[in-house]
């Protein structure tokens, strides 16, 4: 059978404030019926733009050249998306090709029921009465695994969970049985355990509906899990294209090799942690810990007399001097709240939390203030972690000025330069404004600021989750180096087991505000005891198709058992 999609020499330019920018350059791709093609790349690689072009969804500021040839599922018609008229394009969308979006909560219109939205897509293509459309909507919701579809069809999007919303979005894409689905980062907004379920569903789309899928992703584990063939994009060009097995076992292009090398693997850090543990003196265990959480509880008050929400529920752990504790959990697990409580940003409501010997339950800012010079904090979002009106040097000098080590930012400049060099940023970058730095550079500067007073405790809240994989690898490496050099204790918070594993001496797993498991990397990752940890670990896709198939099977058994 002929290909459902053939892209020939696609070029796309955007006009921006800084002039025209070429986002996609000479891309040629093809997708066979029932095949999953993964387009993988980092930010700015042009992968999303390519995906949108397939549906003719480019914004008005874009111009495209080349040919994007789309065939219907039965092969009866062919259209070049770039040259057909608006009316024709509308007919093709939904019937020949449809799309699954990254963020399910924004891809569904909040003010209409999901049934209405699915039916609308069906009726946009003529042939169906309202009743038939509704029946089809119920049927498709059932097929994507929404329980009780007869009732749920009348639900509004906010009544579904994140994973279910993504199922609804997939149902919408499938309802007219298109030959091709374009899935743009379909699991990026979801927790890893939910991600595994959605990947299973997409696999069923291919197997049961015979739908071809163009999968856009930055996650190599997702690629290994689902893709038949992979195209690697870099700076608007396809640098390598191969079947999944070949690409992972013997990558050819340098960029692909670097990208694969940068992906963190679970188990990578176990040896490293063991070496560090060996090097410690026995007396170390006797030293007073930097942080002691004992039955720590943090509750957010409810408004207007409604019950509050318990974010952290009876959690106990210690962080000893010079030790890195990795805190892992999915959204809503309370990991960020815990970190913020240690830094005195969120109030403790129950139990006890001792930071550097100071009780945080009912603490007074004035008494805690002098201890603050001993705590550093690195925030998640590099975009907002610096005051946009101050230069990087002024921002990094801020802790020195606040704690009286320097009279003004200018006086702190020598120290700031040292710090910038420590985080491997050129001195001259001190004179730049935050928006003039990339995300990775900003996180480096953020580390420099956190380390300015040489604190004995550093809290890092998802410091790399907004970064590209290759940038993330470098920042993690830097973090490890600095930790070895300065010897601070650290709480490293992340949703990604593999990332935490690289750095942590010990790992603590949070689930719905409770600490379910704690131990060394070898213990937690090697032989997890708690069923949640087991599920979390099995859900994490690894960048190796063969190994991933095994893990998938394991996860299936775990799910069947639990």
């Amino acid at each position: 059978m002929s290909d459902v999609l053939t892209i020939t020499d696609l070029g796309i330019s955007f006009s921006t404030d800084a002039g025209a920018v070429r986002a996609v350059d000479g891309v040629s791709l093809r997708v066979a019926p029932g095949e999953v093609l993964a387009i993988v790349g980092e930010s700015g690689s042009g992968k999303t733009v390519t995906a949108k072009t397939i549906l003719g969804l480019l914004p008005e500021t874009a111009t495209a050249s080349g040919v994007v040839l789309l065939s219907s599922k039965d092969g009866s018609s062919e259209h070049d998306v770039l040259s057909i008229g608006k009316r024709k394009l509308r007919q093709v969308r939904g019937t020949d090709v449809s799309m699954v979006f990254q963020e399910p909560s924004t891809a569904l219109n909040p003010v209409y029921t999901v049934g209405w939205q699915i039916a609308e897509g069906i009726q946009a293509h003529g042939q169906f009465s309202r009743k038939e459309a509704r029946a089809k909507a119920i049927e498709i919701l059932g097929r994507v695994g929404i329980p009780d579809p007869e009732t749920r069809v009348n639900y509004f999007p906010h009544q579904f969970s994140g994973g279910q919303k993504q199922r609804v979005v997939i149902a919408m894409a499938l309802v007219l049985d298109p030959g091709l689905i374009v899935a743009d980062e379909p699991t990026t907004a979801l927790d890893v355990t939910v991600q595994a379920e959605i990947l299973d569903l997409l696999r069923r789309c291919r197997d049961e509906f015979g739908t071809a899928i163009v999968l856009i992703t930055h996650n190599m584990g997702v690629v290994a899990d689902l893709a038949d063939r992979v195209a690697v994009m870099y700076q608007g060009k396809v640098v390598e294209e191969a079947d999944a097995q070949t690409l992972f076992s013997s990558p050819q292009n340098d960029y692909t090799k670097r990208l694969l090398a940068a992906v963190p693997h679970v188990g990578q850090g176990i040896a490293h942690a063991a070496v560090r543990a060996e090097a410690r003196e026995p007396a170390w265990l006797e030293l007073p810990p930097v942080v002691v959480a004992d039955n720590l509880t943090i509750e957010y008050p409810g408004r207007f007399g409604r019950a509050g929400f318990t974010a952290v529920d009876g959690v106990s752990f210690v962080i000893r001097p010079g030790e890195v504790l990795g805190l892992v959990g999915e959204s809503g697990s309370g990991k960020t709240t815990t970190g913020r409580a240690i830094a005195g940003l969120t109030r403790v409501t129950g139990g006890s939390l001792t930071v550097l010997g100071h009780e945080m339950h009912g603490f007074k800012e004035r008494e805690f203030k002098k201890l603050r010079s001993d705590i550093g904090f690195v925030f998640q979002d590099p975009a907002s972690s610096f005051n946009p009106l101050l230069t990087i040097a002024e921002c990094v000098a801020e802790p020195l000025v606040v704690h009286g080590r320097a009279a003004n930012p200018a006086g702190a400049r020598t120290r700031v330069n040292e710090l910038l060099e420590a985080v491997q940023l050129p001195r001259a970058y001190g004179d730049r404004y935050p928006h003039e730095l990339s995300g990775g550079q900003r996180q480096r500067a953020s580390l420099a600021r956190a380390l300015a007073l040489e604190p004995s405790l550093l809290i890092a809240d998802e410091p790399t989750s907004a970064l590209d994989v290759s940038v993330q690898a470098r920042v993690l490496e830097l973090f490890a180096e600095l930790q070895a050099e300065f010897g601070f204790a650290a709480l490293f918070i992340s949703h990604d087991l593999a990332v935490v594993d690289i750095l942590a001496d010990r790992i603590a797993v949070l689930y719905k505000g409770k600490l379910v498991e704690e131990g060394t990397g070898a213990e937690v990752l090697g032989a997890p005891k708690d069923p949640y940890t087991q599920r979390l670990l099995a859900s994490l896709p690894v960048p190796d198709p063969a190994e991933q198939a095994d893990r998938r099977e394991k996860l299936r058994r775990l799910r069947a058992a639990g």
Partner: protein, 361 residues
């Protein structure tokens, strides 16, 4: 009160909604309802203290015309020589029972003035709102759809002109062109004297001229009433239409950029439906909240419009009382308008909440 307002109320609406989400609509209405009282309390208190800061109303109204003894006598009779706090609590208590005082210049209860003239203002505001909705909302959708193209440019200039023209100036211009030069529409008033006389003696008189005219069953009278309403409604309506147009345009452009619009597009939904259904409906929630705040603009505008067209409503009366320095009447009218504003904002917030399924369920 127009352009800047577009953002904060939307945020406010979002905030309010979040706090109540999950609690159901009943709870939301209850919470929102209890918020009316502090608002009314603050406004009527403010009016009282501000007006009283100038001194007692008797002196203000009759100061030049009466001798000191007579003045003191009148002041004593009205109770303005008692401690101010006593007067304040009496005033609050009176308002609670619906008593807004007695005018000095005409010696009528303010409540009676309000009832007589309130209906006229309500009628004018109603007509103006119809004009504003008919003109503002569809044109706002058109502008959003043809964003940055010629129709959009034209409509934006139109909206800005609507806003930039003071309502009393557009009223004067309309009057000059249609009433004085073209002589197609009446110059002033709510109806001609003949029609007013006929409606005066209707058994089921409402004071709302359109309804009264219908009751007479005389098409001539109805035509007369409607033709009197055209220019005031246009002047006041266009002012508001400009605000609505801009509001709809901005919010719909915002929702047109949302993922769910692209999602609809990717399913083959037509552009027309994307604008009128997918983008418009979610945009409606902030739009309605801001429209609620435009009630204040409408009332300000009504005062001016009524003055130009001698439309015998609250605004016209207010201007008369201001000229007569009758501050008891002014205080009463302003306090009542405060109550109306607080109540209508409540109603509008409830409507906005009802449209939003996230609050409804």
């Amino acid at each position: 009160m127009t352009t800047v307002a577009a953002r904060p109320p939307a945020q406010k609406a979002a905030r309010r909604k979040r706090t109540s989400s999950g609690g159901g609509i009943g709870r939301y209405i209850l919470i929102r309802f209890t918020l009316i009282f502090p608002t009314i309390f603050i406004l009527v208190s403010m009016v009282f203290w501000l007006m009283r800061a100038t001194g007692d109303p008797i002196t203000a109204a009759l100061g030049g015309r009466l001798g000191p003894e007579q003045l003191a006598e009148r002041i004593h009779a009205a109770g303005y020589d008692r401690p101010i706090l006593v007067q304040y609590f009496e005033y609050l208590g009176n308002i609670f029972t619906g008593n807004f005082g007695t005018t000095i210049s005409t010696n009528k209860p303010v409540t009676e003035v309000l009832l007589t003239y309130g209906v006229a203002t309500a009628e004018l505001v109603f007509y103006a709102l119809i004009v504003a909705f008919i003109v503002g909302i569809p044109l706002g959708l058109v502008a959003a759809y043809w964003r940055d193209k010629a129709p959009d440019a034209f409509l934006r200039i139109f909206a800005i002109l609507c806003y930039a023209t003071p309502v009393f100036f557009s009223a004067l211009l309309f009057k000059l062109v249609f009433s004085v030069w073209l002589k197609v529409l009446p110059v002033a008033g709510r109806a001609s004297t003949g029609s007013e006389l006929q409606m005066q003696f209707l058994p089921g008189k409402t004071g709302i001229y359109t309804i009264d005219a219908l009751q007479t069953g005389d098409p001539q009278i109805l035509l007369d009433v409607v033709s009197h309403a055209v220019l005031p409604a246009l002047a006041l309506g266009l002012l508001t239409a400009g605000v609505f147009l801009r509001l709809v345009r901005t919010n719909v452009i915002g929702t047109l950029g949302a993922d769910y619009v692209d999602s609809g597009r990717s399913r083959g939904v037509s552009e027309y439906r994307l604008v009128t259904k997918h983008a418009y409906r979610p945009a409606l929630i902030p739009i309605i909240t801001v429209i609620g705040l435009q009630i204040a603009l409408l009332l300000s505008g009504a005062v001016l419009t009524e003055t130009v067209f001698e439309w015998k409503g609250l605004g016209f009366e207010l201007a008369q009382f201001l000229t007569a320095r009758d501050f008891v009447a002014v205080q009463g009218i302003v306090a009542l308008l405060a109550v109306i504003v607080a109540l209508s904002n409540f109603v509008v917030d409830i409507i906005a909440a009802l449209i939003d399924p996230r609050v409804r369920y």
